[in-house]
Structure formats: structure tokens, C-alpha cells
Symmetry: C2
Subunit: 447 residues, 2 copies
């Protein structure tokens, strides 16, 4: 195999044979194909897309590049959820203990902040002492004992994906439907799950904002799972606005805890319950989603999920007593409000601006491995379609210094657009669509 | 500047500002942009092309990445020729001394074999002792004393192009009109020339086989030169067949010498004379091309160019006495004929097959810096359109061992296609078109 000939074939729109693509990938793992050759290949794939055969080969080679976990010894199904990434999305923290309450085991492997979006690992680490890295044996122990555990991707799982992901992140080749699909599914297939639910974000705050792209992404991933015996379903959910109120690592943990204590923003609770029911269905625990939703809601209001979350946090080295009122994270030194400069109707709350704003306030990274300030962030107090009066607070900003206060207020003014009439088009419904292994999009009404 | 944002902008078809592209390139030179990021950028440029502004910026940044030579102290114009690469193209060896005879100085900087094509440096080095690397001061001395000299690209000239060229060669991003144009012109603009002639190959044996692509390439390069005050003209010439008879480094040097001794294949002599006249015109030495062609022909038949070539070879450390009958290179151990398997008319003599065949016989490289056997090669005894009888020799093959003899014969049988009627379409005319700074293609008839 001559690497540049394989790159040229892909560049020219020819379909790579399984043998050629596999050889190319294996040679990359062996460092016989250089990073720059793989970067050129990824960009060619970005432009040309992948055929079903190429997609299957890429997924399988990544999947088999590392270990596959096995949870078959556990007395219940194993299920995970993956979100394609958004702003204010703290669902995982609430969802894992809720689904464990429903009777499944939830070995959750999450990621860090990427681009303008937040990452579950960074949120978890805003709790002092919380360990998102641990040996797989210990991860399995926590899952077995508590019913759920949350860690980062380990080098044992799909290491080829780890390398390709890092490469894509610096070479402008992230936003490709087949590359995203193969990356997510190779990792999730290696987790030894009985079922998987995908939360595919739609709207300005998503990596693929367009609904059609999101639908194709969902269908692609669902099919990849089905072909390999893993039941997968996907919900397309709104990311034309942040999810919930809090944007910022510590604030989001606090909001997740509020939700586990029976409160929290209604949309956050509703999406969590929807995803929980979907997870129960997909892993064979409860086919009737209405029943599952009622049980998930009960787990939140009864405090049962809260207790389980507290046990998980303790087991992973985080603060104790979260189920008896302890606060999970430190507060920012400076807090202030950002008032509306005019009266009117909220047109949009733009997640990308808030996401990049959070980074610029120190709550995200501009370089790899940079330390972040978990205390900073925004609480967004208004929603698209709401009427506001001049001077009414649009958001509370939590920042590290007085100098940052005015900058943060400016970000809020840019992110929250006020108009005179109802927003047109109206905001997306919370759940736009559902995709399961029949391969079809199901409109919200059928949920 | 965030490198991946610049890559993404190019990927999405936006025009990069001069500032952004220059920053990206300068950061790459400073190793702050990684090889893999540049590889992704080059592939995005391959797909999206370059705007005139982007092309100008790329060319200028490469040009200014190193030194610019200055030959203004010489008592005559300085002119060079660049070929886009082909099979059997030994023109440079003959052309440099001929044009020096016409009164210009020819500081020629050439390249090595690339892909299926041969390289002037490799040909020169088949003469024992010939030095293609020397300090610029010594290069200038030879040019001044002999009138012509031939070396490889030095690290002082457009070093950024050197890095990008090596990167393109392994990442499937060679065959891009703007990238080729910027690469060639940045180097040639740094040579301090009074004029430049481009030999843009057309046909199966060229990197851009299609005539329209070759025309655009020629027009692009001519315009880049004109905008920077360098008179450039281009001839589009036939590479649907090898040029001349010899294919292989030592054989090609011998054929060049034959031509300098007043003989050689007519097409080779004709193309050399055409290019010499073009060079004389472009550097202001002789505007009347017919006069220049007569003088170039005379330089070949009189032996004047031969003597100058011999002086150059001696000055660069090669064998002495080439003007008095010495042979420049050793012969291959085994030589045999490849007979026609049927009678008929030669349809095609396929240069790519012969070029790759030469590599596989040891006369070219499959890895960088690999040693090559200068003795091996083909002498192609027939031309498209010629009638042949069964058993008539199509070629003589020169190989390293008896084992290779049959392989080489097989290559000839694959490369030389025999049919029953005249080839359709007919072979290209030797010179298809001319492009000068008026930016227009001029049909052959107007030459």
C-alpha cells in the first residue's frame, strides 16, 4: 500500500476497498502512515463523504483498535447515552442515577468541552476531588455497586478513535457526518452495552445546526449500531437555545443537583425524563415509554436518584453529603445581573455566543490541557418568546473579577436578542424527532 | 489566529484574507502550525482552489521565505526553463548550452524524478562525479565562466516551497493547478531571472494530462510572473508519448549528447530549438523567433553547444572529454530487444507505463533518497502512427540482470499498443500551443 495513492483515490471520489482502508488505518496506528497523511485523508473524507462500506470499515477498525468491555455478569441491562454536544447540557449528571433507579446499569463514558460546547467531564471535575480517570476494574466496581459511574474515555477503549479525534479537532475536520458517526459508535460499541440512546442536538448551538444533517447523523449512527447488534435510538433535541438556565461548569452541576432534588428548570427535567424512558426502552427494561417516564419522574421527586448520585460522587472521590444539602462547588467571587436595554420579546438566546463567552471568561479552554475556572458562567433568566421589560434582568453572570463583569454583561447583550414581536421562526420544540432502528425519522407527535 | 479556524474557512469555500493566509504560512514556517494542519489546508486548497489574491499571497510568502539571487552583474540576460515533468524529457541538458551560445546566461535549477516522471538532477548524476549540489557562490561562478550551470534547489531558495512540496508529495495534493503554479513560480522568481520559459506537458505522461488544465496552468504561471515583472512564456508540448527515444537516466544523457553532436531524434532537436528561441525572445535577446531558431540549430550542428556542455560538465566535476567522443555513462550489463507480437500500426506509446516500469527496474525511486541504477532504461524504436511488422523490434531494453530482461519486455508490450488502423485521435503535434503575457493561448499555427 502506497499511502498517497490511497489518499488520492479517496480525493478523487473512488470507493476505498475494505482492505485498502483497513491497511491505511492499521499503518497509521503503527505510525507508518504519518499524521499529515491522515490529516489529508480526513479532509478528503470530509469533502467526499464515506460510502456505507467505508463507514463500516472505519467504525470496525476503530472499535477493534482496543478492548471491548463486558458487563454481562451484571444482573441487569447496561445502557448509555451520548449527546452530540451543546451549551448548558448537564443532562448526563441527572440521567445516569435516574436510569440506574429504573433498574439498568449505566457505565457512562463522557468527553470534555469541545469548540463552543461544554463537556460532562469538566462539569464533574468542578466538584472537588471527583475522579474522572480510574482503572477500568475500579470503574466496573462502581457501576456494579452504585448502578452508575461516569469517567472519561480510557486509552484501552478505541484508542485509534482517540488519535483521530484529536487530529480532527486541530485540522478542521470535525463537522463531518460519517466521521462523527464512526467516532461515536466505535467508542460506544466497545462499551459492551445492551442499548444506547443518542441525543442529537439541532440548532445554532449544535455542531451540525441543520435539522436534515442531524437527522442523517442520527440515522447513520442508529444503523451502525443495528448492523452490529446494538439497539440504538436517537432523539433530535433543541439546541437553538441553551438547555436550562445554567451555562458554566459549577453552575451546571448545581442545577443538575437542583433537578435531582425535585426542582430545576422544566425543560431540563422534561428532556431527562424523555431520555430516561428512551434508555429504558432501548435496553429492554420497559417498552412502554409512558410508564418509564412516570417512573423516571418519581425517581426525581422521591429523592431516590439524588441519593444514588450522592453515592456515585462519593465513590468517585467527590464531596460527601450531596443528598443532605451540601453544595457541590465553590461560588464565583463576583456575581452581577445583566439588565435588558429595551422592553420587548426575546427573539433568540444564542448558545454559541454564550459558549465562546464562557471560554473567554476562563470557563473553557483555548489550548489543550489548559486549567479552567469552574466557578464562572451565566444563569440565563429568560427564554425565547418571553416578554421582558426594560431593566429586567436577562441573566446573572458569575465571573472571576470586576473587570470581567462588564465583559460578561456585554456577552449577554449580544447573545440575547430582543425584538418587538413573537420570534419567527418560533423556537424548536424540545424534542424534534425520534429515530430508531427502522431507520425512519418519527415526528415529535408520535413520541 | 486559530489555525483550525483558518482551515475551516478555506474548507468552506471562503476567501482567506492576505493577512490570515500569510499568518498561517509564517506560523507553519515557525513550526507553530503543525504538518498535519498544513496537510489538511493543502487538501482543502486542492478541493476549493485558490482565488487570485490567495494565489498571489501564497506565491509571495514562499518567494520571500528565502534568498533572491542577483545576476545583474553579468554582461547579458539570465534565463531559465522549467518543465512540468514528463518521460524521456532530457531537453534541459541540451538547451542550457544552446541558449548560452545565443548569448544568455542560464542558471538552471532542476528537480529530481517525481511520480512516473524523470528528473534532470538524476540524469546529470548518471555522469560519474557530476555535482548537482554546490554553494551558491560556486554556482554563480560556473554560470559566469561557462554561461550555464545546472544544480538542484538549494535550501536558500524558497525554503517554504521545499517543505510544502515534500508535504504535498506524500499527501496526495500534488496535482493542483494553483499549488503547482505557486510552487514553480516562487522558486523561479527567486532566481533573479530576466525571463522564464515554461514547458507545460500535455497528455497521459503529464501530471495534468488534460489540455485545458495545462492551458490554465500555463496562463496562471505566466500571469504570476507578469504581475511581478518577470517576462514568462509557456509552450504546451506533447507528452502523450515519451520525448525522443531514450527513457532512463544514463541513456537520456547519451541521447542529449548525440543531439549536441548534431544528431539525435528529430522531435528532441525540434523541441529544444523551439524552447531556445522562446527563451531568447522572452529575455529580450532576439525577438525574431525564426532567427533564434536558426542560430540554435547552428549551435547544435557546429559543435559549439557541445563544447560548452563539456566545459560545464567538467566545471561541475563530471567526466572530461565529452566534446571529443568520450562516453558520459556506463552501459547496463544486459541489453535485449522487445519484438512486436503482431504486425499493424502503433496506436500509442504510453509514457506512464514506461515511467513506472523504469522505477520498477531500479532506474527510479520508490522511497525518498533511494539510490538508483542510472544504466537501466528503454530505447523506444517506434512512434505512434508508424507501421510495424510482426517480430520487428519495438524497443531495446537495458537492464541490470537476465531476470529483469523478460520483465522489461513485458513492460514494452504493455506500453506500446499496436492496432490495425491509424491511431484515433492522432498523436498530439509536438507543440500544441503557446501562452505569453497577453494571457491568451496561441494555437500552434501562430508559432
Amino acid at each position: 500500500m502506497i499511502p498517497q495513492q490511497v489518499i488520492e483515490a479517496k480525493r478523487d471520489g473512488l470507493e476505498l476497498s475494505s482492505a485498502d482502508l483497513e491497511q491505511f488505518l492499521v499503518a497509521y496506528q503503527a505510525e507508518e502512515v504519518a499524521e499529515e497523511q491522515m490529516a489529508a485523508m480526513l479532509m478528503a473524507m470530509y469533502f467526499r463523504g464515506l460510502s456505507p462500506l467505508e463507514l463500516a470499515t472505519l467504525t470496525d477498525v476503530m472499535l477493534h483498535s482496543g478492548r471491548r468491555l463486558d458487563f454481562t455478569h451484571l444482573p441487569g441491562p447496561c445502557v448509555d447515552k451520548h449527546s452530540t454536544g451543546g451549551v448548558g447540557d448537564k443532562v448526563s449528571l441527572i440521567l445516569a442515577p435516574v436510569v440506574a433507579e429504573l433498574g439498568a446499569f449505566v457505565p457512562m463514558m463522557s468527553g470534555r468541552a469541545l469548540g463552543h460546547t461544554g463537556g460532562t467531564l469538566d462539569k464533574l471535575e468542578s466538584m472537588e476531588g471527583f475522579r474522572t480517570r480510574m482503572p477500568l476494574s475500579q470503574f466496573r466496581e462502581v457501576v456494579e455497586k452504585v448502578g452508575c459511574a461516569m469517567i472519561g474515555q480510557t486509552p484501552e477503549i478505541a484508542p485509534l478513535d482517540g488519535r483521530l479525534y484529536a487530529l480532527r479537532n486541530v485540522t478542521g475536520t470535525v463537522a463531518s457526518i460519517p466521521l462523527i458517526s464512526a467516532s461515536i459508535m466505535s467508542k460506544k460499541l466497545a462499551e459492551g452495552l445492551s442499548g444506547l440512546v443518542l441525543d442529537v442536538k439541532v440548532g445554532e448551538g449544535a455542531f451540525l445546526p441543520d435539522k436534515r444533517d442531524a437527522l442523517i447523523l442520527a440515522q447513520t449512527m442508529v444503523a451502525l449500531g443495528a448492523q452490529r447488534g446494538l439497539p440504538v435510538s436517537a432523539l433530535l433535541t433543541a439546541m437553538d437555545r441553551p438547555l436550562g438556565i445554567a451555562v458554566g461548569n459549577g453552575l451546571e452541576v448545581a442545577e443538575a443537583l437542583e433537578c435531582l432534588r425535585g426542582g430545576g428548570p422544566p425543560e431540563l427535567r422534561e428532556l431527562t425524563v424523555h431520555l430516561a424512558a428512551e434508555m429504558a426502552a432501548v435496553c429492554g427494561l420497559e417498552a412502554d415509554r409512558a410508564v418509564a417516564r412516570r417512573r423516571a419522574t418519581a425517581a426525581l421527586t422521591s429523592g431516590a436518584a439524588l441519593q444514588r448520585f450522592a453515592r456515585m460522587v462519593e465513590a468517585q472521590g467527590g464531596p460527601r453529603g450531596l443528598d443532605t444539602g451540601a453544595e457541590p462547588c465553590a461560588a464565583a467571587p463576583v456575581c452581577g445581573e445583566a439588565p435588558a436595554e429595551r422592553g420587548g420579546v426575546i427573539q433568540r438566546v444564542r448558545p454559541r455566543i454564550l459558549g465562546f463567552g464562557l471560554i473567554s471568561l476562563g470557563g473553557g479552554r483555548t489550548r489543550r490541557k489548559q486549567a479552567i475556572d469552574p466557578r464562572v458562567g451565566f444563569e440565563i433568566l429568560v427564554r425565547p418568546g418571553e416578554a421582558v421589560e426594560r431593566g429586567q434582568p436577562l441573566a446573572r453572570v458569575h465571573v472571576a473579577s470586576n473587570t470581567d463583569l462588564e465583559r460578561a454583561r456585554e456577552m449577554v447583550r449580544e447573545a440575547i436578542v430582543i425584538g418587538s414581536e413573537a420570534p419567527d421562526p418560533p423556537p424548536y420544540p424540545l424534542v424534534l424527532d425520534r429515530v430508531d432502528s427502522s431507520g425512519q425519522g418519527h415526528e415529535t407527535s408520535s413520541l
